[in-house]
C-alpha cells in the first residue's frame, strides 16, 4: 500500500508524462486554483509536490508557507518552455540568508 504520495502540479502539456511513472498529476492553469490545490494536498498524504516554475511565480506566499515544516516538500521544476531560473534563485537566496553574501553564483555576476 502506497501511503505517501508524490504529486505534480503544472500545465497539462508539461506534466502529463509523470503520470506514466505513477505520480499523481494535477493539471492546473490558474494560480489561485494551484494555491488551493497545494493547501488541500498538504493535508493529505502528499510528501513531495513538484510545481512548475511558471505557476509557482504567482503563488510564492503559498509555497513559502510550507517552508518552515519538513513536509510537504514543494520543489520547483521547469516546464516545457524551459527553465525560468526560479529554482536557482531559491538556492541563491538560501545562500544569501545563511552566509550573508552570495558565494556560489558570485563568479557569474
Amino acid at each position: 500500500m502506497c501511503m505517501y504520495k508524490m504529486g505534480v502540479i503544472g500545465d497539462k502539456d508539461s506534466i502529463l508524462g509523470f503520470k506514466a511513472l505513477g505520480l499523481s498529476v494535477f493539471p492546473v492553469t490558474q494560480p489561485e486554483q494551484a494555491a488551493r490545490l497545494i493547501h488541500k494536498l498538504a493535508k493529505e498524504n502528499y510528501v513531495i509536490l513538484f510545481v512548475t516554475e511558471s505557476l509557482a511565480q504567482d503563488i510564492k506566499e503559498t509555497i513559502d508557507r510550507y517552508g518552515s515544516q519538513p513536509f510537504p516538500i514543494i520543489t520547483l521544476i521547469p516546464n516545457n518552455a524551459g527553465s525560468m531560473g526560479l529554482g536557482m534563485e531559491g538556492i541563491k537566496s538560501n545562500v544569501e540568508k545563511a552566509v550573508g553574501v552570495d558565494i556560489l553564483f558570485g563568479e557569474r555576476g
Binding site: 502506497c2 508524490m6 502539456d13 505513477g22 510528501v47 516538500i73 536557482m88 545563511a98 552566509v99 556560489l104
Partner: protein, 215 residues
C-alpha cells in the same frame, strides 16, 4: 554601552555574575552550533546547485521529447496510453536531524513489476517519442526526489543559521557587554560606599580622640 537599571547591591551583583556566566557559555555553544551548521550547509548547497542544474537540464530535454509525442499523437490516445501506470514509486518519509534542525529524509523505492513492461501501453498505437520521454522521465525521477530532499534541507538549515546568527550577535554585542558594564558599575559603587564608610569612621575616631585629649 548603557548599563541596566539595577540597585547596586551585593545580591544584585551575584545575580548578574551568574547571568554573565550563563550568557558567555550560551554564546560559546551557539557559536559552535552556527559554525557546524554553516559547514554542513556549504557542503549541501553545493550538491544542491549541481543537482538542480542536472535535473533542469535533463528535464528540459525530456519535456522536448514529450512535446513531440503530444504533437504526433492525438491527446485522447496519449492520455489513454498513460492512464494506468504499470510501475509505482514508493517513498517513505522520515525526519532526520542536523544539529537540532528537523529535516526531511526520504527513502525512495521504485516498484517494478518484472512481468509487465515499464511502458503502460502497447507500442502499436503510440509513437516512439513517447517511449523516449517516458524513459527519460523515469531516469530523472530519483534525481528529482533527491533534489527535493536536499533543497528542503538547505532551506531549513539556512533559516536556522540565520536565527542562530542573530542570537550569537545579540549575546556577543549587546547582552554580554551590558552585563559586564553593569557588573563594573555595581563593583565601583560598592567600593565607593566602602571607602566612604572607612573615611567616616576615621573622621569619627579623630573627633573622639580630640575630645578625649581636651578633657
Amino acid at each position: 554601552m548603557a548599563i541596566m537599571r539595577v540597585n547596586p547591591t551585593r545580591m544584585e551583583l551575584t545575580r548578574l555574575k551568574t547571568r554573565l556566566q550563563v550568557a558567555v557559555r550560551g554564546h560559546k555553544l551557539l557559536k559552535d552550533k552556527r559554525d557546524e551548521m554553516m559547514r554542513k550547509f556549504l557542503d549541501l548547497i553545493k550538491q544542491n546547485k549541481e543537482l538542480r542544474e542536472r535535473v533542469e537540464q535533463k528535464l528540459t530535454l525530456a519535456f522536448k521529447d514529450f512535446v513531440m509525442a503530444r504533437a504526433v499523437m492525438s491527446s485522447e490516445v496519449l492520455e489513454e496510453a498513460i492512464m494506468f501506470p504499470t510501475r509505482r514509486v514508493e517513498i517513505k518519509p522520515s525526519i532526520g536531524n542536523i544539529m537540532g534542525v528537523a529535516v526531511p529524509v526520504i527513502e525512495y523505492k521504485e516498484v517494478i513489476d518484472q512481468e509487465l513492461s515499464p511502458y503502460p501501453y502497447s507500442f502499436a498505437a503510440t509513437s516512439a517519442e513517447l517511449d523516449g520521454a517516458i524513459a527519460a522521465f523515469s531516469d530523472i525521477l530519483p534525481l528529482m526526489v533527491e533534489l527535493a530532499q536536499i533543497e528542503k534541507t538547505c532551506q531549513m538549515l539556512a533559516d536556522e543559521i540565520e536565527k542562530t546568527r542573530r542570537r550569537v550577535n545579540a549575546l556577543e554585542y549587546v547582552i554580554i557587554p551590558q552585563l559586564q558594564e553593569t557588573i563594573r558599575y555595581i563593583t565601583m559603587k560598592l567600593d565607593e560606599n566602602e571607602r566612604g564608610n572607612r573615611t567616616r569612621l576615621m573622621k569619627v575616631k579623630d573627633m573622639l580622640e580630640e575630645k578625649n585629649a581636651n578633657v
